[in-house]
């Protein structure tokens, strides 16, 4: 079972004092070892903490603003055997997240205010804040815009037909134009459905070696370029989610160079895992690739099927560079729970997606250890930058509601299925040794996870 205890947003406010903890606050770039006090759910001056407040030894630990995931699949309504608002929010809390944004590709899809309200109501006693992303088009059918303004009023923080791009240029233009008035971003899953049709993994030497149909970078680039052109014309705000190619990253970089309000996120698995994982490799992008034979235990493993597919090593390294230089704003997990029966099938038949809430920090820390990222940038990409994109603020200033994570960056553990708080365990990282462990997560002043 999962070690640690979970709390909920409806619990009484927390009070504790963490001593000698390294506090990294990307709001002001500070990085100091100090005491950090939370009294009745609010950050307080440590000298005011009474002796009755629990003291936690923070030596060797890092405190940071609570993480915010822009891309989570909670699977409710429709597939509560795989994940629920409750179980997904516990996975989030264990991963250090205090906010998750639930994607609308549920059954039925979140395309009208009442359905958003249903999810938000279920989330009232969850283990993290749950925000909702509304569908762009009715039924996610790609034919007519849903009532975007009404959904924004019901709490939608952005709009996406995730799982697919808004299929027609005309509709994408309408959405961006209208959303300018609504003040929410279009969150685009950038994939040209015709170019991507039938593909099984990333095109390249590994796909050729394995005889799997290849997904080419043009599938992503054509939609990114289209949407940038439309955003520029309309003034709508565009956010590209799970960017996965160097080519699309360059397009975003050029757009931002022109001053356009285009943002993007990348998943942990597109940063660290590569298409070689489909052939059975278990080396991270920054490690020297192995030239091993196709491994019978790990090759063609449906757990490695994701959409967009795992990147080439060159693209993964380019994405790490884009994250380090700030072109990529945020790390978003695309936490996508699936049951074993949808993964224990021939590779091309496997449902795409892997869980990610409980391993995002670990993968980021592995990239930091490898020298591809600095810790402050990793924390910013997990916390304040994604939060800003949905108009949430994170602060470690005294007097603010406590919304933070405390983690041990240096402990290591082999990822085991029975340690996961998610109701699903579909990740190829099972059995892989990863750094880091969250010790405390505090959302809205409530202790939502403690280990």
């Amino acid at each position: 079972m999962t070690a640690g205890r979970f709390g909920r947003l409806t619990d009484p406010p927390a009070s504790f004092l963490v001593t000698d903890v390294r506090v990294i606050d990307p709001n002001d770039g500070s990085d100091v070892v100090r005491d950090l006090a939370v009294i009745d759910g609010f950050l307080a001056d440590p000298s005011t903490a009474s002796d009755r407040v629990e003291r936690i030894d923070g030596r060797g630990l890092v405190a940071a603003p609570g993480f915010c995931d822009l891309h989570t699949h909670l699977r409710e309504p429709g597939d509560d055997a795989v994940e629920t608002v409750a179980s997904g929010s516990r996975a989030a809390a264990r991963g250090g997240f205090t906010t998750v944004c639930a994607m609308p590709n549920t059954e039925p899809p979140l395309d009208e205010p009442a359905r958003l309200a249903w999810v938000l109501e279920r989330a009232e006693n969850a283990s993290c804040r749950v925000r909702v992303i509304g569908a762009v088009t009715l039924g996610r059918q790609g034919e007519a815009l849903a009532d975007l303004g009404a959904m924004a009023d019901a709490g939608a923080v952005g709009f996406s037909d995730d799982g697919a791009a808004v299929p027609s240029s005309r509709l994408a233009r309408s959405a961006l134009t209208y959303l300018r008035g609504v003040g929410r971003p279009l969150i685009e899953h950038a994939e040209d459905r015709e170019l991507a049709a039938g593909s099984e993994m990333r095109a390249g030497p590994t796909a050729s070696r394995l005889g799997l149909r290849g997904w080419t970078p043009s599938a992503e680039l054509t939609i990114v370029e289209r949407d940038i052109a439309l955003a520029e014309e309309t003034g709508g705000r565009l956010h590209i989610t799970h960017i996965s190619t160097a080519a699309a990253l360059d397009a975003v970089r050029r757009a931002r160079g022109r001053g356009l309000p285009v943002t993007c996120d990348v998943t942990p698995h597109h940063l660290a895992l590569t298409d070689a994982w489909v052939a059975g490799s278990r080396r991270f992008a920054w490690e020297e690739p192995d030239d091993a034979p196709i491994d019978v235990e790990h090759s063609y493993d449906g757990l490695c099927r994701v959409n967009p597919p795992l990147a080439s090593r060159e693209d993964a390294l380019a994405l790490l560079g884009g994250l380090a230089d700030g072109t990529i704003d945020a790390i978003a997990t695309d936490h996508a729970p699936h049951p074993p029966e949808r993964k224990l099938v021939p590779f091309g038949e496997a449902a795409p997606g892997m869980i990610g809430l409980e391993t995002a920090l670990a993968i980021g820390l592995a990239a930091v250890e490898a020298g591809h990222l600095d810790l402050a940038r990793l924390i910013a990409a997990l916390s304040i930058r994604p939060a800003e994109i949905i108009n949430e603020r994170r602060s470690l200033a005294i007097g603010q509601p406590a919304d933070m994570v405390v983690f041990d960056p240096s402990t290591r553990a082999v990822l085991a299925a029975d340690s996961l708080a998610s109701a699903s365990s579909n990740t190829p990282l099972l059995g892989v040794e990863l750094p880091g462990a969250v010790r405390l997560t505090v959302a809205q002043g409530r202790l939502t996870f403690r280990d």
Binding site: S208, L210, G211, L212, P293, Y300, L344, V345, F347, E349
Partner: protein
Amino acid sequence: MILDAPRGTERARHILDVEGMTRDEILRLLDLADTMRSARAERTHRTLLEPETIGLAFYEGSTRTRVSFELAARALGATVVDLGVEGSSVGKGESLVDTLRTLERTGVTALVLRHASSGAPYLAARSTGMAIVNAGDGMHAHPTQALLDALTMREALGSLEGRLIAIVGDVAHSRVARSNLHSLRALGARIRVGGPPAWVAGFSGRDGVEVATSIEDALDGADAVMTLRVQLERAAGAGVPSLREYSRSWRLDERRMAHAAPGAPVLHPGPTNEGVELTSDLANGPRSLIARQVENGVPVRMAVLATVTGAA
């Protein structure tokens, strides 16, 4: 690759791919196939696989591969069960793994699997305790075809060391070509692939493989020429504008074969679309090894089945 038994099983070995097979492993299988050819003619090995129950699971249509596996298994005395996919619970939504585990429980010891999805035999190998023989998976591999092709070429050319073999057609989407690349390279041959750009994509720069952009360049000096079956149903719109356009540039005929080494033989994995990949005259003429490829299918599969079951 011939893999040793996974943990927890007593003896299952698999043939999933040619990639990773050593020259010695391939030569041993070819020599064993020669032995099996005699054994079949002389009816000497008729009880070799008596303890075995061999399952045939063809999730994709096949005539020559399925029939030759069945004949190979019977020639060695095995019990054969054919999972007629149409008539089984596969149509009722049962998953591949569940179906194969059921076969294993009924006593199948070795499974011959063909599947439209690349990698399906790997899933079978790690999900069951049966010995798995890959009879063709998606666009990935067709090891027994590559072995019988190598056997056929060895008969015609002697050693393949230093020989130049041309492979023409939709190489990129062909499991036959992919497996032949590995086996022929392991046996010391050089490879030249030729076809329209989309059909040879991904092969330039590979060790020991040249890419030709015209039929004349592809055939130039080749010691043997293999042309691949054009998937009629998916050719148009997937790399070539039309079959007519393909044939115009890439169909093998006697005139074009003049660019190859004198007397160079022609191979085709079958079934042929005569007039599309090669002319009828060439397919049925003296250069053609197509019939011999089919004949070699049974002894190669006898050798493979005897190997995975540990009988030889």
